[in-house]
């Protein structure tokens, strides 16, 4: 089958001779992929920033497809079902899954305890192959996969695997109350969705900060919010304070993670020398821009090692920090409803449809932010 094949930092290709995956566990399913996305967090892998990303791996944690084979114990889905597959691999039985912490399952990742299994996201997240391929092995088929309603466009469905729930949970974790001022750092697909969802929780004002004008222009329209380019703001924190009566925002959301731009020292330590678990500029701004007693919500992805943040300010300001990988399965019913009612229209974020065999160009376009790219989708031919 055709599958994306990672060859080293900034080098991927589509191979045609990868074996089709097989059932390895009675609750596995094999899914024929209809659509798979390249995610901003795939770029961390692509750039060589995630430890234990092995050459020969296939990435892709955002995919929808048709079930073509099921293991002997699978009951909740059947061959022929078209399904949304959440990016988290979750057993549904462990103490964490039972608390609906589906992003923190204890039965899906031998390599690390700090993160649950994720499709196509390095051996640090379980060593599973991902969906940037024609077929993919889906463990715990009774738990994650959710049948796509027949009215739903597969382009909307594929964004429900990560981007929409992650953006929604970013807003949810912010504990937004009606009238709150919410600042979202990062106008990538997740930041865009977080800004959009902030309104659903009753935000009074939504502000997005980024440095790419084309994305700011997009989010301003898509999420009907304010959008500013930090390159023209001078000091970002000072700007947020001044625009909120010097008190700061009620809620700050970090939707950037470990590849933030905007601070030379931080970039050097985090992105160039890999001496810390990522560049923390966005998180630094979030902590310093939030109101005393406010909430910082983190959905940006960081590496497993230490990363510098102004923790003294967290203490002195009495900030609550909430963070997690999105619990996709928990949120799907509500989000499907929102898509049905036209409250959310995720597919409007898709700017590029790329055949799977051109995956190398897809990664380069997204990584280099060419052609005003916001969200690329790979389509197996």
């Amino acid at each position: 089958m055709i599958a994306m094949n990672f060859r080293g930092p900034f080098r991927v290709r589509a191979d045609r001779d990868k074996p089709i995956p097989e059932i390895e566990h009675p609750n596995d399913a094999i899914v024929k992929v209809l659509r798979s996305c390249i995610c901003g967090s795939d770029l961390h892998l692509y750039h060589g920033l995630v430890p234990d990303t092995r050459v020969g791996s296939t990435f892709g944690h955002e995919f929808v497809g048709e079930i073509v084979e099921v293991g002997s114990s699978v009951q909740n889905v059947k061959v022929g079902d078209k399904v949304i597959v959440p990016f988290n691999i979750a057993c549904g039985k462990c103490a964490f899954c039972r608390q609906e912490l589906f992003g923190n399952c204890h039965e899906s990742n031998p390599e690390a305890t700090a993160v649950g299994g994720i499709f196509g996201y390095s051996h640090t997240a379980g060593g599973f192959d991902g969906g940037q391929a024609e077929y993919v092995r889906v463990p715990y088929a009774d738990v994650g996969p959710t049948v796509i309603p027949d009215w739903m466009d597969p382009d909307d469905a594929v964004l429900l695997t990560d981007v929409v729930p992650t953006g929604y949970q970013a807003a949810e974790m912010g504990g937004i109350l009606p009238g709150d001022t919410v600042v979202v750092f990062g106008a990538g697909p997740v930041g865009i969705m977080a800004a959009k969802c902030a309104w659903l929780f009753g935000a009074g004002r939504v502000i997005v900060i980024d440095q790419l004008d084309y994305r700011l222009e997009f989010v301003q329209k898509f999420a009907q919010c304010e959008a500013y380019n930090f390159n023209y703001l001078g000091d970002v924190v000072e700007f947020i304070k001044h625009t909120t009566d010097s008190l700061g925002a009620d809620v700050c959301i970090d939707a950037v993670g470990c590849e933030a731009a905007g601070d030379a020292m931080n970039t050097l330590l985090g992105r160039k020398l890999l001496l810390q678990g990522g560049t923390t500029t966005a998180l630094h701004w979030a902590i310093n821009s939030v109101k005393k007693g406010g909430i910082v919500s983190i959905v940006g992805v960081y590496g497993p090692v230490n990363a510098l943040v102004p923790i003294g300010n967290v203490v002195n300001k009495g900030i609550t920090i909430r963070a997690n990988q999105a619990s996709v399965k928990r949120l799907l019913p509500r989000l499907i409803e929102h898509v049905k009612n036209g409250v959310l229209s995720p597919k409007d974020m898709i700017t590029h449809r790329i055949p799977l065999h051109e995956v190398a160009e897809g990664y380069h376009i997204f990584s280099a932010k060419l052609d005003n790219c916001i969200k690329p989708v790979l389509i197996p031919s």
Binding site: R7, G8, R11, R13, E24, N27, P51, D52, T53, V55, G56, S57, C91, K93, A95, Q99, E100, L101, E107, S108, P110, G117, H123, G126, G127, F128, P139, E172, M173, G175, L177, P178, W199, L200, F201, R205, D213, Q220, Q224, C225, E226, A227, Y228, N229, Y232, L233, T243, I295, G303, P304, N324, R334, N341, G342, L344, A360, E361, Y363, H364, L370
Partner: protein, 180 residues
Amino acid sequence: MESEFTPDNRMNSMMADYSHIKGWGIDADLENDPTYPMKKRTDEERFGYTWERPEQQPQDVEILTSTERNNMPAVFGTTVPPSGLSGMIRRYAYTWSESDLRRWIPLILADRIGAGEGIIDDLAHGKIPNIFAERGWTAEMKYNRKNFLLKVAAVTVVAVGVTALIVNRKKISGSLKSHR
């Protein structure tokens, strides 16, 4: 440089009127404070966490396991087991806990070595890796032509320079030999 996105150009001058935003406030929950993820208390805090474990996936390839676990999770990925020099480094890395830099820095090193091993492996299978295509530079040609041509020009200048240097060296060493 002037941008459209400056502080003076604020949207939302309508404040307080959100009728233009479909779904405004429909998920607002005044009780949602503090919010998800909240710990859901069960008696397990007192009596210990147990659960009926899912059936165990059979294991037939080498899987490196965190030292912080005392068992194998019920499922795991079996693609690309550790191999070669990078595999040896990975095995060493996994002898340290997730809290130890000795766990993570060697893994990054192993990843880099793995990229080199990948090229050797390709060549061994009679496949010459097309680095140009793997880096997606055809897209650069399409969407960023000017930058791409500059890059190509720079690479050409360097290549011509290096070639000239090598040729000259050969000439010099050749002429030295003839004088000997």
